[in-house]
């Protein structure tokens, strides 16, 4: 009992401290702008003091002593004994980061760790003792700071007037509510809306004046209630934006640039799950803008621009979506430069490049591995980034657009949906069952009727359709899901091809009926059904019935559409895809794993269905082979160390679970027993064709270490011969 109470106290402490630290980040940066209100310093002091006190109470002594050092410094500043200087702010920010790191550790392990942070403590105390900057300061500015509150050359920050100050008051009027409770309220309101709709229909036929009156009231109240509850899940984008000034400051200092941030529309509201999803892409874009976009002060001066660059963030609602614009007034992206880089990297031939419009050239920065940066910094320029931003945003159903003018700057526009909990979806039916297909993955619909049904052709046993001259693989939904056909559908009945896209590959889902697009509320399936990759969740329809939501990429994986080696048929929206294909051929996402003591091996991630761990006792022997029951099937296992003839088979401890890579081949799975799954890398792989031993394709240097590429297909053929025969019998 006492333990539970203590856990609760620790949780509360962590939650509260995180909130306070976020506020601190912003305030420290504000502080640097110049002399500031006494009350603000006092506020910062209180936050650190609270953390110190609670940490001491809970027995986290290292955290306590670290906070204490910061507190001593802050006390002197508060009392006017010391002037706030740049190095102080830097150290205090380091302190905030360290506290965060320790909190994270406490959250994960319950322990505060063994690091004592003596250096930081000493520096803070030295600063507090008036030793202004003489102590080693591990930031980019090692020189003693000038006495003025804002050192010359320091990046300057400015938020819009009126944005700061009032934050305190809001916190006082709010209550912290568990998200699970909000979700439950959403559910109930959804049901209330359904019941309301049914009553309205029923009541309309009765024509009872008294009833009509109360029905109207019910109607109004329900609608308002629904809106209100939906709002509770929304959070202003300022939750994210408030962290940006800190990011901007750090990056600007590291790059030696002067940057001012302007933010508009911080009150724009978004669902919290979306906010979470755009956090990283947004940070990345901002870093990029400072590192690549905004020029160094000397360059700016030479170009007759103000020395301090401006980064503008604008958020606003438009057409049921949220737009976020990130613009800088930097050098812009030179299309000629991109053209040259693209040719140099072999993405485009000189001829192709000459034909491309400037707009299309700009799109190239979203190609994996493409970077125009002259040099690689630790912030950006390694050519990973913009493609990740684009993928992340597209994953939540958003889009990314870029505009740039040489010499004037670049604007990146993110369009994101308001919420993930409610998504537009196309309702379809097949063999009497209704399903929802998320609009995000939907490209177009093709209706086939009468004669045109014959346009479905067969390549061996696979159905295909010629869509504008290209073969589109078809998956009849009823077959994929194994729904038994009660009445054999006549060949004349119309059929619909729902053309969808998963992982940049198109295919058609054939259904009997296409109904309507609806805004549906996504609800999770129970854990007992989580293993079925064909479904992303379920939703409740207008009539109170339940419909399953199809997971288009899950279906693609299940049926082999994605891993099939057919040529990529990326939507021909721009001319870029050709280039993308080129890059992706060289780039591969690989799963790295370890077998035995030293064997580092890799397989293409695209062939890996899952990573699993099995208890040793779950592994059974059948027909002289190791097998395990897996999702209702028998999964044959291959002990890789043995199969590869590794001399020193490391004995497995009988108690620890066994790592298994579930590898898909010919639409079926085989389990590869490995000692440890190491990492997933996305890399250009230069394979030497000389295999070091049978069962491998060759070796490559990945992450600076020699890694062998597993020849899984041939290995499976030799290790599990019957199994392969069985598959061939089907074919």
């Amino acid at each position: 009992m006492a333990n539970a109470m203590e856990d609760e106290a620790v949780r509360e402490f962590i939650l509260e401290s995180h909130e306070n630290l976020d506020k601190l980040d912003r305030e420290f940066v504000e502080m640097e702008k110049g002399p500031l209100a006494q009350e603000r310093i006092a506020g910062i002091f209180r936050t650190i003091h609270t953390i110190k006190g609670t940490a001491g109470f809970l027995g986290y002594t290292r955290l306590e002593s670290m906070a204490h050092a910061g507190e001593s410094l802050l006390a002197k500043i508060r009392d006017g004994e010391l002037q706030l200087t740049g190095p102080m702010v830097s150290e205090l920010l380091v302190l905030v980061d360290r506290i965060r790191a320790v909190l994270k550790q406490i959250e994960e392990s319950g322990q505060e760790g063994v690091e004592s942070f003596d250096g930081l403590r000493a520096r803070l105390l030295a600063l507090a003792a008036g030793d202004n900057g003489a102590a080693p300061v591990p930031t980019s500015r090692a020189s003693p700071a000038p006495p003025a509150p804002v050192p010359v050359g320091e990046p300057q920050f400015e938020e819009l007037p009126g944005d700061s100050g009032s934050a305190q008051a809001v916190a006082d009027t709010s209550v912290r509510v568990d998200v699970a409770l909000l979700d439950k309220l959403m559910n109930l309101v959804g049901e209330l809306v359904l019941a309301r709709n049914q009553i309205l229909q029923f009541g309309a036929s009765l024509q009872e004046p008294a009833l009509v009156g109360s029905m109207q009231r019910l109607n109004l109240v329900t609608t308002e209630l629904q809106e209100g509850v939906m709002k509770t899940r929304m959070q202003p984008i300022s939750v994210l934006c408030n962290k940006l000034p800190r990011v901007v400051r750090d990056v600007a200092v590291a790059c030696g640039k002067q940057v001012r941030v302007e933010m508009f529309g911080k009150e724009t509201e978004l669902d919290r799950t979306i906010l979470e999803a755009i956090r990283d892409p947004l940070t990345h874009v901002v870093r990029n803008a400072i590192d690549h976009g905004i020029e160094a002060p000397e360059v700016r001066a030479a170009r007759k621009k103000p020395k301090t660059g401006t980064l503008t963030l604008k958020a606003f609602h438009e057409g049921g979506q949220v737009n976020i614009e990130i613009s800088d007034d930097g050098g812009g992206i030179d299309p000629a430069h991109i053209r040259q880089k693209a040719i140099q990297k072999g993405l485009l031939s000189a001829e192709q490049a000459a034909r491309m419009s400037e707009r299309d050239l700009l799109q190239l920065i979203f190609v994996p591995g493409f970077s125009t940066a002259e040099r690689v910094s630790n912030i950006s320029g390694r050519g990973v980034g913009m493609d990740v931003v684009k993928t992340n945003i597209e994953q939540i159903g958003g889009t990314v657009d870029i505009q740039s003018h040489v010499g004037q700057g670049t604007t990146l526009r993110l369009k994101i949906p308001l919420t993930l909990a409610i998504i537009p979806a196309l309702m379809v039916a097949t063999r009497g069952q209704r399903f929802a297909i998320p609009q995000v993955s939907l490209l177009e619909l093709v209706r086939l009727e009468g004669e045109s049904r014959k346009n479905i052709e067969h390549v061996h046993d696979a159905q295909v359709y010629r869509l504008r001259g290209k073969l589109l693989p078809l998956l009849p939904l009823g077959d994929v899901l194994g729904i038994n056909d009660r009445a054999e559908a006549s060949d004349d009945a119309p059929a619909y091809i729902v053309v969808v896209q998963a992982d940049s590959r198109q295919f058609g889902i054939v259904v009997d009926e296409v109904r309507d697009t609806e805004e549906i509320v996504v609800k999770p399936l129970g854990t007992e059904l989580k293993g079925i990759s064909a479904f992303a969740g379920a939703t409740i329809l207008g009539d109170g019935g339940v419909a399953l939501i199809l997971d288009v990429s899950g279906i693609a994986q299940m049926t082999g559409v994605v891993s099939a080696s057919r040529e990529r048929s990326v939507a021909a929206k721009t001319e870029v895809p050709e280039a993308m294909e080129q890059v992706s051929k060289d780039r591969q996402t690989l799963l790295l794993f370890r077998v035995g003591d030293d064997g580092r091996l890799a397989v293409p991630l695209s062939r890996v269905s899952r990573l699993e761990e099995f208890a040793p006792e779950a592994i059974e022997r059948a027909g002289g082979r190791m097998v395990v029951q897996y999702r209702g099937q028998i999964l044959p296992l291959i002990e890789l160390g043995q199969a590869l003839g590794q001399a020193t088979a490391v004995p497995r401890s009988a108690a620890s679970p066994v790592s298994v890579i579930v590898y898909a081949q010919d639409g079926r799975n085989v389990g590869l027993l490995v000692d440890e799954v190491l990492d997933i890398v996305d890399d250009n792989v230069l394979l030497t064709r000389n295999a070091l031993r049978p069962g491998t394709l060759g070796a490559a240097v990945i992450q600076g270490r020699v890694t062998e590429l597993l020849d899984a297909p041939s290995l499976i053929r030799t290790q599990v011969p019957n199994w392969v025969q069985e598959v061939e019998m089907h074919a």
Binding site: I483, E528, Q629
Partner: protein, 173 residues
């Protein structure tokens, strides 16, 4: 209160009982969220055969499990309208389809016994024990076990990876 409602110091305990295939089963009443009459079900393709489908329980989507199949009984009559006993399992709810709902009974802890050694198969895993009442036994279902994957997959694998339908066979011959 102990975390395990079947053990602990309390002498009597309330059990929600129901009938499946002529046997009287029970589940601790504290875990039963509600009992509802037959609901139209949305079938879940590719799911294990014990999953009858999904129901809409006031906006919450609840998986319904077929207890007859889980206990290796034969399926009930075609037109049967089984009742739903909605049980809280960990943080979510599942619904158990039963033939008929019985009373909530007060049982004496002293009358609890482990399942007999001769009970084999899936029932052994699913049953935690038996309460001996006058003239009848209550077979106590272990609520922690009902969503275990090994109990759900009864039939020959129903969750096949996709095999293209009949056409493939024609070609082979």
């Amino acid at each position: 209160m102990s975390a395990d409602p079947l053990k602990g110091g309390v002498r009597t305990r309330q059990v929600c009982t129901f009938w499946v295939n002529g046997f009287l089963f029970g589940i601790p009443a504290t875990l039963v969220q509600e009992v509802i009459r037959f609901q139209p079900l949305t079938p879940v393709p590719l799911a294990p055969a014990t999953v009858s489908g999904l129901i809409n329980l006031r906006g919450q989507i609840v998986t319904t499990l077929n207890l007859r199949r889980m206990l290796d009984f034969t399926d009930g009559p075609q037109d049967a309208q089984p009742m739903n006993v909605v049980v809280r399992v960990r943080d979510s709810a599942v619904s158990l389809q039963v033939d008929e709902v019985g009373d909530v009974l007060d049982v004496d802890e002293g009358n609890f016994e482990a399942p007999p050694q001769t009970l084999l198969g899936r029932a052994r895993t699913l049953l935690r024990g038996v309460y001996k009442l006058e003239g009848k036994l209550i077979l106590m279902i272990d609520p922690d076990m009902v969503t275990r994957a090994e109990l759900l997959n009864v039939d020959p694998p129903s969750q096949n990876l996709w095999k293209p339908a009949a056409r493939r066979v024609e070609h082979a011959q």
